[in-house]
């Protein structure tokens, strides 16, 4: 599996892996029920420590995006949450506020949101 990771950012690598997988689920590149590579395999492919991938999978599981089974492996959840969780609204509010504080205009923020929503490279 090929994921985009940026080691110059201050965002932890496990968080970046997590974000990339969520982005792929959102854009349909990863479908519900689809099998994800085992932790060891993904760590080998990304050139990162197994613990990093394990932490990312743990976070995704906690957020309800994936489910793990010792025999069946790790899969994207079939029944992904359809209602917007309250913490997501909080995160969005904070992200938009941060962007505004950094000097981004509304148009720029909307453009960025559109690009992310439509699955384009950000």
């Amino acid at each position: 599996m090929l994921l985009h990771l940026d080691f110059t950012l201050h965002v932890p690598i496990y968080q970046q892996i997590c974000n990339e997988i969520v982005r792929r689920i959102a854009t349909g590149q990863l479908r519900p029920g689809e099998l994800l590579p085992p932790i060891r395999t993904l760590a080998e492919d990304l050139g990162v420590n197994m613990m990093t991938v394990s932490k990312a999978y743990g976070l995704l599981k906690q957020e309800g995006y994936i489910q793990t089974d010792r025999r069946a492996g790790t899969r994207i959840c079939e029944d992904l949450q359809q209602t917007v969780p309250p913490q997501l609204r909080q995160q969005l509010k904070r992200s938009v506020s941060e962007a505004r504080a950094c000097g981004m205009t509304l148009e720029e923020i909307l453009e960025l949101c559109r690009a992310v929503y439509e699955g384009g490279a950000v």
Partner: protein, 443 residues
């Protein structure tokens, strides 16, 4: 002993075999070191050719193994070593020749089918790939300290001179190894990224995989070496051979495990890539990099995590000459070993000294220096510090049980053993004249 020596020489064959066989599975657009486009990678003719190559490679490895087996039956260690060395040189040539033939055949198919696969890789900045930085040098410092730690014992403790010498030499070798790990580790970060196609994420992933595993290997090797040095110190000479074997096996296991982890990742990341880089013409027989346009001496191996040498640079040529000289120098060394093992130690006594001569080595012990002389029915257990140590020849410095460090020049199977003690040295000799010399001296 024969089995151990044979296994030590043979082990290179399965490693090379597995590595060459692994090259038949597509990685980074390469099969058998030939760059192929996706249609070439899936082509039926290529698949059949590769299957035939695998069979040929397997039979070559089997025949080469069979050719080594007679060495198990030889009575003398020097003959076993000679057979194994000649076998190793021949086996290296044969297996690389089989690979070169396989490579040439596949390249001919590529040319005949007119598959285009890009150009040589240009120099490329790694900055836009946003790769991880090298780890801090500080991670290599503790293993270096661990390596030299036993020297403290040599300075402050009262030790047997033989043990002290072994401990110091071992610590020096370990320090050299850990320092080399640090020096070689940094090389990978000066190399070009692993460009296969125009997808920067793939290039970043492939480069990251190589660097991550390279880092892991050298760091683990440094720490294993440091731990080995301390273990030898704590063991106080007990189980030294077993520890060395475990250490060597651990280093081999770490290297092979990371190498194949990289190859697995390179295979999975291959995807359906359309190669934009083709450097086949710079790889002689798919094995040796020769690019006069590239000024770098050390370059990345095309597959796996390792590095290779550009034989077009002056330093690369020097490395090639050195490697050939070292390999060929093994032959006269073997001849020397056979001559040494078959030669007999001649003992004689004059009015002034006892003289022991073994080929060109002469030990002359003035009679007035001799403090004590003994005749033993057999040699006490002895461990080599330096010199030759085979079933029929012990020559050099040894640690002998009950005597400490001593100079030996004898055939341990020939008895009796003459022990001569002087103020500064203990000598052990054996020979037909040993008993007569002992009796003459006593009279």
């Amino acid at each position: 002993m024969n089995l151990f020596l044979v296994i030590c020489m043979w082990i290179f064959l399965p490693i090379v075999y597995v590595s060459m066989r692994n090259n038949t599975v597509c990685k980074k657009g390469l099969i058998l070191s030939v760059t192929l486009p996706p249609e070439g990678q899936r082509d039926e003719e290529v698949q059949v050719y590769v299957a035939q190559f695998r069979k040929r490679l397997l039979w070559t490895a089997v025949w080469l193994t069979a050719a080594l087996l007679p060495a198990l039956l030889f009575p003398r260690v020097s003959v076993v070593i000679t057979w194994a060395v000649v076998w190793m040189l021949a086996a290296m040539f044969v297996i690389f020749w089989v690979y070169a033939k396989g490579y040439a055949g596949l390249k001919a198919i590529k040319r005949r089918r007119g598959w285009k696969t890009g150009k040589p890789q240009p120099a490329m900045e790694t900055e836009p790939l946003k790769l991880p930085k090298p780890i801090r040098t500080g991670w290599f410092v503790p293993p270096m300290i661990l390596s030299v730690l036993p020297v403290i014992s040599c300075i402050f403790d009262v030790l047997d001179p033989a043990w002290k010498l072994l401990l110091t030499v071992n610590a020096a070798v370990c320090l050299f190894m850990t320092a080399c790990s640090l020096a070689i580790y940094g090389l990978i970060f000066r190399q070009k990224p692993d460009v296969v196609d125009d997808n920067p994420d793939r290039t970043a992933a492939l480069t990251r995989v190589r660097r991550y595993n390279w880092t892991k290997t050298w760091l683990l090797m440094a720490w294993l070496t440091g731990a080995y040095s301390v273990a030898v110190w704590i063991g106080q000479g007990k189980g030294y051979f077993a520890m060395t074997m475990v250490y060597t096996a651990a280093i081999l296991a770490v290297t092979l495990a990371t190498e194949f982890a990289v190859r697995r990742a390179q295979h999975r990341l291959n995807g359906d890539t359309v190669p934009v880089v083709d450097e086949d013409d710079y790889w002689i027989w798919g094995q040796f990099y020769y690019n006069p346009h590239d000024k770098k001496t050390f370059i990345n191996e095309r597959v796996g995590m390792g590095m290779s040498v550009n034989y077009a640079t002056p330093a690369g040529k020097a490395v090639a000459v050195f490697a050939v000289v070292v390999l060929l120098a093994m032959l006269p060394l073997c001849a020397w070993l056979i001559a040494d093992e078959t030669a007999v130690t001649e003992l004689s006594v004059s009015s002034e000294a006892i003289v022991a001569q073994h080929r060109n080595t002469v030990y002359e012990i003035p009679l007035e220096d001799i403090q004590d002389m003994q005749l033993l029915d057999q040699l006490p257990p002895a461990a080599k510090l330096w010199g030759s140590g085979t079933d029929r020849l012990l020559k050099g410095k040894f640690s002998v049980e009950g005597y400490g460090a001593a100079t030996l020049c004898l055939n341990p199977q020939a008895t009796p053993v003459l022990v001569i003690q002087t103020a500064g040295e203990i000598y052990f000799f054996s020979g037909a004249e040993a008993e007569a010399i002992y009796e003459q001296r006593n009279e």
